[in-house]
Symmetry: C2
Subunit: 146 residues, 2 copies
């Protein structure tokens, strides 16, 4: 929850400001990728008015601290749910409900590293997202409009 991220912020010498906590709350509550303007809009609807510049700067910081991630497929931001995990953080993205689930797996990394090495490529890290259907959505009517 938010309290964890607040501790991380302070441990790294950053202030736990009201705007930062608000953004954390939204990311935690809405478990789907959100753009900076999405976040601003959601908070605005709740009577909390943040400047978009502030939202951008907060998301930048969160990504640097690995408190959040920028999704590759959509460019939206999600809260990191693997705070303590070293190595590559990855995602499964439900094409129906839009939910994302974060995971990490050393086995996948090793397989990918081995594969790349055979082609003479020295891997630093892996970006990957699986697109498909989450367990709740599999075998149901589609929800997402796009």
């Amino acid at each position: 929850m938010v309290q964890n991220s607040v501790r991380t912020l302070q441990a790294q010498g950053y202030k736990a400001t009201k705007p930062r906590k608000l953004v954390l709350e939204v990311l935690e509550e809405i478990e789907r990728p959100l753009s900076p303007y999405d976040i601003q809009g959601i908070l605005h609807a709740r009577g909390k008015h943040l400047n978009h510049v502030t939202v951008y700067r907060i998301l930048d910081l969160f990504c640097r601290l690995n408190l959040a991630h920028k999704m590759l497929s959509s460019g939206g931001f999600v809260k990191c749910s693997l705070d303590a995990v070293e190595g590559c953080h990855r995602f499964m993205v439900c094409q129906d409900c839009g939910a994302i689930q974060e995971f990490a797996d050393e086995g996948l990394c090793q397989g990918e590293n081995r594969f790349a090495r055979n082609l003479g490529f020295h891997t630093e890290h892996h970006l990957s997202e699986f697109a498909g259907l989450c367990s709740r959505c599999y075998g149901r009517q589609p929800q997402l409009t796009e």
Copy 2:
């Protein structure tokens, strides 16, 4: 080469126009991800003036036909070098020289599918990019400025 993509265009009922061929040439020649405005600029410097709207529309089409891909990490566009390959097209991105190498591997897909299935996720396709150093750049001085 370009001629292949031209055939694909025509086979699908699209015209092989001068702007489309120019964009194909650039993507084929510069084997690094390019933004729409990058492409426009490169062509402009060669005396070929395309409207940016045209470049956007061409890249949209190319992506729909899998003649090109939009890179996840950078948002830039590259020419697909696996024209005939079914399944997931993936990339290794050199962090030094910026070169990209496209590949596909059924084994990786299967491993990922199995992993996801264990978590109740039904995978449709995989997006993935490996970041690291290509064989030429490994053990050399850095080139890229950023």
